[in-house]
Symmetry: C2
Subunit: 369 residues, 2 copies
């Protein structure tokens, strides 16, 4: 086992010890990728890495992944299983090998069929949700992590600039989305960080809208684009809202309010403040405006290997943000049936303040089209 791998696995052993459980289990996803230094997917096949607090780690690996798994350099026990035979035996052997009573898992990643397979192999096993503790290891980004994220963001912003330059009245949301996606890959994206949101008019008021084939953008529309490239394992997540040809007084006032909220969130950002503090600063601006009834979301979330990860930037989350955290600052106001505005930056927390990794201008932009 390489020293790097050993050291990364010992981080999870320490979490198990801290939580007072026998072991931590990881399934393919961002934590798994961080732990083993390589990305795996699992689909319908259970794939499990168990790191005990005080014993060597062991893995349950689908047989067809053994070739890729060999690249990881893992020298603990491996229990593989073939599609033809099913996985019950591998779970039973893994459990017999490990002697666990308590196991902490990633509650937002592990699916119920793996939970059931664990309980079937050892009915008395106590499974607890340690999503927060396990994922917190990904919260402080290394320099290399930030550099990868900056590449993803730079690609995204170049694609956004070119997309906005190409927008014409009468295009469908879907056509604009296709332009954006093509340009993301042309600019060097490895993949999409998530399916983009390209939403105009009343669509912009739905925070997770899908681009429509049958909605053609028209003068006066708000056009909200929320998207990001994935590069070298890390995600960008940026939103800008522009207006097409003209903007109403209401549109202007709402935009100004959201921008002030975004800036208020940034203003309080520095190592040592809590996620609560940042959301409170941004949301207070929205609440004090005439548009308080259009608030529908918290201010943001952590960003890294996953598009949504800890810390969740919301009131009540008193987690203190250390230097190296990257979060999205994305206040918005949404009037259902009318229009919505969101402005989203990716923000690196530093000892003395912050650095916005996103640099796309935030002044109100009315596209000539």
């Amino acid at each position: 086992m390489t020293d790097t791998l050993n050291s990364r696995l010992s981080d999870y052993a320490a979490i198990a010890a801290d939580l007072g459980v026998d072991a931590v289990a990881l399934v393919p996803g961002a934590n798994f990728t961080r732990a083993v230094g390589q990305s795996f997917s699992s689909h319908e096949r259970p794939f499990l890495l168990v790191i005990p607090a005080r014993a060597p780690a062991a893995a349950l690996v689908p047989n067809l992944e053994l070739g890729s798994w060999a690249q990881v350099g893992f020298d603990g026990a491996v229990f593989d299983w073939r599609d033809q035979d099913g996985y019950d035996r591998a779970f039973a052997d893994l459990m017999a090998h490990l002697h666990l009573s308590t196991l902490a898992v990633e509650g937002q990643v592990m699916r119920v069929f793996v939970h059931h397979a664990l309980k079937k192999a050892r009915p008395e096993l106590q499974i607890s949700d340690a999503e927060r503790e396990i994922s917190s290891l990904r919260m402080i980004k290394t320099e290399a992590d930030v550099a990868a994220m900056q590449r993803a963001i730079d690609i995204s912003e170049r694609a956004l600039r070119r997309t906005l330059d190409s927008v014409k009245l009468g295009q469908t949301e879907k056509e604009i989305e296709q332009t954006l996606v093509g340009l993301l890959f042309e600019e060097g994206a490895d993949a999409l960080a998530f399916s983009p949101i390209v939403a105009a008019g009343d669509g912009s008021a739905r925070p997770h809208a899908h681009a429509r084939h049958d909605y053609r953008v028209k003068a006066g529309d708000a056009l909200l684009i929320d998207f990001g490239a994935r590069k070298d394992g890390f995600c960008a997540d940026i939103t800008r809202t522009v207006f097409l040809q003209t903007v109403s007084d209401e549109g202007r006032a709402v935009y100004d309010t959201v921008l002030r909220a975004n800036l208020a969130g940034l203003a309080v950002t520095r190592a040592g403040v809590s996620a609560h503090d940042i959301d409170d600063a941004a949301t207070s601006v929205l609440e004090a405006s005439p548009f308080a009834d259009r608030i529908r979301t918290k201010t943001g979330h952590g960003l890294g290997r996953e598009v949504h990860e800890a810390p969740y930037v919301m009131r009540g989350n008193h987690m203190v943000l250390p230097a190296g955290t990257v979060y999205t600052n994305e206040p918005g106001l949404y009037q259902i049936g009318s229009f919505g505005v969101r402005i989203e930056d990716d923000v690196l927390v530093t000892e003395t303040g912050y650095r916005t990794l996103t640099r796309f201008p935030k002044d109100l932009l009315v596209l000539p089209c």
Copy 2:
């Protein structure tokens, strides 16, 4: 509630009744999309549709999704929750409203944090995994489903043709992947059905390999490309393996074996045969060859809104395939450290036989490069 929505929900009520449980629960994913006719995502936010066997359905919806949810036309009870408040109360209210003792869930979709939230709201709730029964509703494709899948496949095959025409010795796997992805969008893909596999040389022997930045393709390499477009909600999933400039006798023999396995699987395909029968026909060809020790996978899986869905085409799965099923026929042989070959078609099961939706030639192709 529209008649269509009512009728789709009643399919799930019937499953609950058949299973003898009080209700079925769906979370965002392919079954949820089929049920409500619209696609949602959930990330860290629980989102749940519960369909009782003998009572109106109810939903637990993140507040910020209410705008999109309103488009669904659902007139049952809705329990929404805001990020600021958390979701425990909404789960408690939902459970108090429904009076459930037993609940069947999609074990491969629902994550452990939702399972835990349900158990917290009602500790005596018995949660069972009905992935198979719930997902089986998606197994028989309608004409519209097949038409969408054919569009996805046609886009994919045009992109593959153009990609292969562009391959040059000395390119990295990553460069070939970027060409492929760009062409998929240019040809009209809405999205990627999954992250493509572009793997040459020893990489082709790893069934779920990732394209490498540092591997340059060379004469004699096997080049395996496994990929697909997503179009109008449906997926393509196609694999072809070609050789670059030249092919060894071993490469030719392995290719011929895999092709015969693919054809043997097709030959037995018609409505009424089991998933076991198809895998058995294909795998028997591989087993009877000199390369039996290179078998690492089952023959295939269902294809539709998800890239991997029921039926899993493997020995031991005696599920009978009805007309309208679409499955992937993708036998392969993989020699770790050397090379692998996989040939994958998307196959529509008909009353009298089958129709391959993929039409890309399967004869051994040695690219001039």
